[in-house]
Amino acid sequence: MGNFDGDSGTVFEQSYATTNGANGKLPNGNGAAIGSPSNGGLNLNHAEEPRGEAEPFLSQRKFSAPAYTEIRTRRCNANAAAEAKNRSPNYHPEKRSIANGHAKVLRDHEETQPNKVEGILSPEVEHSQKTSFEEVPLHTACLTYLGFYLLMILGYINQLLFVPKVATEKGREGYVTLYDAFESFYSRYVYRRIKDCWNRPICSVPGDELTLKDRVSDDYGWSFKFTGTETRCLNLGSYNYLGFAAATGPCADESEEKARNFGLAYCSSRCELGNNEQLQELESLTARYLGVEDAIVFGMGFATNALNLPSLLGPNCLVISDEKNHASIILGLRLSGATTKVFKHNNMRDLERVLRQGVCYGNPKNGGKPYKKVMILVEGIFSMEGSIVRLPEIIALKKKYKAYLYLDEAHSIGAMGSHGKGVTDYFNVDPKDVDILMGTFTKSFGSAGGYLAGTKKLIDFLRTNSHAHCYASSISPPIAQQIMTSMKTIMGEDGTEIGRRKIMQLARNTRYFRRRLAQLGVITYGHEDSPVVPMLVYLFSKIGAVVRTLTTRHIAVVGAGFPATPIMEGRIRFCLSAAHTKEQLDYALEAIDEIADDLGLKYSNKPRDPNPIIY
């Protein structure tokens, strides 16, 4: 019959919680509490305290949902295993006297091997074995289409009868409208309906746990008000792959020291008065980390792509970019004015076909003369699909057709590979084979900024010709220090085992979570080893339902719909982290299992593994 005991777990009314508490389900931390303090003021006062001091108090109030007793957060993964070995092995939440951090036994079994391609089979076969993009079941596709048609009809009626609460241009008769008609229609009549699930504000460090600021809407998503309460949630939405997003620890201490000694900003662009020893040290460290000759760093990851692609490419170049590339790459390509051709996502035959056409027939705008350069643009891990690029095959193709390769490792740097050095490490490929390595420091390093790395000649060219280098301000000192400390930790140069343990923990978490999700029977996309796990829900209303229900269960996730994904493939994206413990993952999986049963998300037709998954 399903789990439809409606009170604390699932939410029947999938509408906005109104300020008069119409259905009484405000998602504050004391929603389903029995006898816990229920002061909004108390929440606010104590949520801001540093975690170390208020931890015992917070941990009592944190989770009042009956299905979970405690989440114990850990600052250093290394202590957990040693501690856990001495405890009694009873994991029942009621009988447990102390919480367990990571798994009791860290085995030196093949299960604990870090991310590395196996190398036994050929790359194509291994890729097809480990990647899955399951087809949508027919009834779901039909229902999704039907649902969208109904929403469109409603939208048109709304547009006809009611004036939307948006600003309108005045005195602009005869001018073309500022916004594309479909885009504004979609944003007002479809996106707006579950706007409380998008762009949610937070008020804590986004580590393995997160504090969400609650807000309600009286008029169905046009405007929001803060309720003043906060919800402490398990964080499955932040790109915190190695768990470096923390307010305490060696990274934070060194950044603080740097801020005290060197100030908070350079207040100048890199070329003028913003260059200094620290940034040069950062660049050489990045180059050493990646295994290439030189690197250049920028203050913003998006701008790294958007502003450097115009410097590298021009109108007589051919760029072959993957279908599912990020908006920053697309923007950069448009700005550059190069001829852009698209190949099907991760499809090597299509890539070869496009390459052959480009090389054989030349530039049609130029009378068939050959292109000045041909560049293949791919990402390491595609963040919406969770798939990993087929690097060995692309390198083979690139060498065959004498093309350049630009690899955007925004999500994969730090998260993939046995030493955390990205997909080149994962596939055991020489990083010098990739012409341009690009990445960001935002995801795995817990900082901000981006880099480009490659041969010294390339980087010297960029130092003189890049817009971002010339005009954007330099990375501020504490942020650069955070990058350096985290990089040294990952490489092991700080003398501890923390980096290696984090990499292994992430790999282990990824494998466990993905296998458990497959066992549940939900459709997930992507490669087995990628820490980004998109779970398909297809329908827009289900994105809203899942995000809201998970928030009431104290789990924060990100929902993704059009235009980030194709319109019929709405998804919920989980981002795993080395900071997550097995208990947290189990808690999340149990909530996902219930919700999947309740809302009908178990679309998968694949055989489900009947054996329990070993962590």
Partner: protein, 151 residues
């Protein structure tokens, strides 16, 4: 009385989240089909437990099941995220479409089938048996021959 009550409660409690891990951290129970059933509080004691309680329980279960099915319907047609007046409008629209389809299938399809049948095998209905005349008698009238099938 009270101890009998507790006894009954304990025996009927559904164990949710029994995590039986052995030493290697392996779950010895097939993971996760947790059935969190809220225990319905029994005011009366064991001796007065009667048929009516059971019926009430079943009725409550039925109501919850129907509510769950309605929730699924709302989610799958994306009615769930709409405002109340939009919900009414969409329900009326879908209801009228479904009823139209159903009415058409009950009213027209038999007539069409008979027409096709007689098109393919025109000699089939020639022999005028008594049962045949009953059939043809029913084909005229209120229900069934809107398609105008003539035999």
């Amino acid at each position: 009385m009270i101890s009998d009550d507790e006894d009954w409660v304990r025996r009927h409690q559904v164990p949710h989240l029994t995590w039986n891990y052995d030493d290697n951290g392996v779950s010895s129970q097939r993971t996760l089909k947790p059935t969190i059933r809220r225990l319905i509080p029994l005011r009366s004691s064991f001796l007065y437990f009667s048929m009516f309680e059971k019926l009430a329980e079943d009725y409550a279960k039925c109501k919850r099941y129907v509510k769950w099915l309605y929730l699924l319907y709302e989610l799958n047609t994306q009615i769930a995220i709409c405002e109340p007046w939009e919900k009414v409008f969409l329900n009326v629209l879908l209801g009228s479409c479904m009823s139209l389809i159903l009415y058409a299938s009950f009213a027209y399809v038999p007539g069409y089938c008979l027409s096709v049948f007689h098109l393919l095998w025109p000699l089939a209905g020639v022999q005028n048996l008594t049962t045949g005349s009953v059939c043809t008698a029913n084909i005229d009238g209120f229900c069934g021959n809107e398609s105008g099938a003539v035999l």
